[in-house]
Symmetry: C3
Subunit: 308 residues, 3 copies
């Protein structure tokens, strides 16, 4: 039912915009449904060294909150992913930290996913380096010994959805203008096998098959219905609910929870670990194809016109 | 709940009939539920060369509609399957064809499944040839590059259910007298592993386990509830809805959808591809057992009496 | 939703008690929810030879009812498991027996799971012997040629839940004070991979992941919602409903049902069969750790105080 609703409500490509100010203007939707591309162009290439991620660790509770602050849409660039991984590794090694909440400081968007500028018109080397960082982020987060909770306080397509799925629990703002999903095919690109595995482990084979083939985005209540998120709350309660939920997870002895988590997730993580190089080659050769570069260019031009 | 309802409503073996005029006369059902055998006897062995399948390809949309027209119940004989595969292959190679809708021209029945006459009293050679054709049909359809939609406008047990499950999307007529399911065990025969895999990929392990062990048939609303079909519409809208749904699927770039479909389905298809000969041997040695031939004979005699 | 409800309602460790008279006194629950430890201390080590299991086989129907009668809480000791397996094997070899219903003669409890006294302060040898018996019970029951139905007429945590999941069908008393689940992590221990596989095959990957990591117990309606049980009835109808359901399962030809069951379950059973020794070593080395023994001691002392 939710699948059908998502299919029915899906906005067309023509109504999209990747800039955050226009994220919610899909005029063709009769349900106020939102569509935006899985990958977006950053408004400017920012070479500043200001951190793209802010981490607050509460020593009394052992819970860290990681705020993604990479405007306009928290796009996952190589720089962002590198900073993400460094922070994750620090927290993982800090014995005082047992839980991690991931959220966004950017209004209306959790993360719009992979940065298109890392894939368009770059060298194969740079492209491969970028993909390796995407892998690294997923591997570290999916296998984390910490309890990880996604506090999804905005739009969350493609890579933003992947970060959410990779956590242990997902709380989403109950705002019908937000949506979440692995919508890569809408852009003519393809979610790799480990995105797929992560989604299958969450919502099952059939829902994943249809979601990925159609690049479906779900509004919060549809997402809850199919199990893509676990809990909806009003937007202003997302972070406090995440904190309360964390307390319940941390009531379980760490060692027992960690062994159990590893039993559930290690086979899936191992599939990528033992195929990283081939997966990188596969991505690079796909994304550097003339036809794919051409669709990315068309798409970028459309975004630039909308911003103009 | 749907499982339990299906279990409760299931008609006994004694109330069945394989002829289409009696398909809906299961007197022991208090819910108007329908039961019919997974495999049925053709009313006559038809050696005519008139086509059992009619294909209409709309060049403007790139969508073909395949009408199964093998009265009385679209049973899947070797001739029928051969014709099915030839048509499928032609469309697959036709670059102008991107989508395929499969439906029935026979009133009240989509397909009653494998033709019992291909399994009863034949030679092991013929039996093996038949099974190879069933495999071929499934392999071609499950791996098709086209978008495939089943427009299920009638009763759809056993092999009829398999064809439906093998498509990308299932739209069923919302007529409570119709039913769908892999009900092989009701007849004392067994769905092979690739029927099972196809169902597990659609409705999950537990629902499949119970459905196959009990040979359950589901009415349309039960089938929707467990995810065996995706969409119910009034009978006269089945084909138009299929056409509208196809438009949405075809909005996705073919190459991205096809790569994604292959990622979801290839492991399952490969399991049969690398075990075809063993699977044939297994089927032939099972079906030619004296005890199985005897149950088929008892069953055929019952059908003949009912027709008399 | 059911997951969230279970999480919300879960009682804390402090409100638990393992003795049957106090099983339902979890004062911190606002929903009358029940919590009890996955493994309980037997009130006395019973060296009597009185049977812990009573079996009634109805020759006219071919259905056996196995009553667990090992007060106070049907804990699964080595003696109990040995007797369970002997009975199971006898019935399996008895051609007149086609179906098995498992239920409890102890009021309010189906089975409280593995006996903690088999894991605390014993020798590695005894501990390994115990674990081998747990494996044997599961292997025999999961692969049984009989139709197996759990008539869950009471509290059913941990090992009690495992027995239920291992059957073909689960009917539970609709008493909100009862609960069911694999709650091992609550005690700091871990469900092994084959407990996990059995649950994944029943309720899917995601529900299992969250249930096991949090050690969730579900009340009957939550359990029905996630598919952990198949059917709820008033407590006094559990056994009669099991008998009626058995009749429907036995209407299917045995050989077809058995081949189908084996197709669904053999890969899961084979995983343990080919790893039994490693699984025993793994259990023994985990459970004999100082830290684990210490948590078991703390837990036992708490139980003893509550009984005092």
């Amino acid at each position: 039912m939710a699948l059908r609703a998502a299919l029915r409500n899906k906005c067309g490509f023509s109504g999209m915009s990747g800039v955050v100010t226009q994220l919610f203007s899909c005029s063709s939707s009769s349900h106020g449904r939102v569509y935006a591309p899985p990958i977006v162009i950053a408004q400017r290439r920012n070479s500043s060294t200001s951190p793209k991620i802010k981490v607050d660790l509460d020593q009394s509770t052992g819970v860290a909150v990681m705020h993604m602050q990479n405007p306009p849409v928290n796009s996952l660039s190589l720089d962002f992913l590198t900073e993400f991984c460094i922070n994750l590794e620090k927290l993982e090694m800090d014995k005082s930290c047992r839980g991690l909440i991931i959220t966004s400081s950017v209004p209306k968007v959790f993360s719009a996913g992979l940065d298109i500028m890392e894939m368009y018109g770059t060298t194969p080397e740079r492209c491969g380096e970028f993909w390796k960082a995407v892998q690294e982020m997923w591997l570290k987060l999916y296998s984390s010994n910490m309890v990880t909770i996604a506090a999804i306080n905005g739009f969350s397509p493609a890579g933003g959805c992947l970060i959410s799925l990779t956590c242990d629990y997902r709380i989403m703002a109950d705002n019908p203008r937000y949506s979440i999903g692995l919508n890569e095919t809408q852009l003519g690109i393809v979610a790799p096998f480990w995105f797929k595995d992560t989604m299958v482990n969450t919502v099952g084979h059939r829902t994943t098959e249809m979601s990925l083939e159609l690049g479906l985005l779900y509004n919060p209540s549809e997402a809850l219905k199919i199990g893509l998120v676990d809990h909806l709350v009003p937007e202003e309660q997302v972070l406090t609910t995440a904190t309360q939920t964390m307390t319940k997870w941390l009531a379980i002895p760490d060692h027992a929870r960690q062994i159990t988590k590893s039993m559930m997730r290690k086979p899936t993580a191992d599939k990528l670990t033992s195929n990283r190089e081939a997966d990188i080659q596969n991505f690079v050769s796909f994304i550097t194809k003339d036809s794919i570069q051409k669709s990315l260019r068309v798409y970028l031009e459309m975004l630039r016109k909308r911003k103009g």
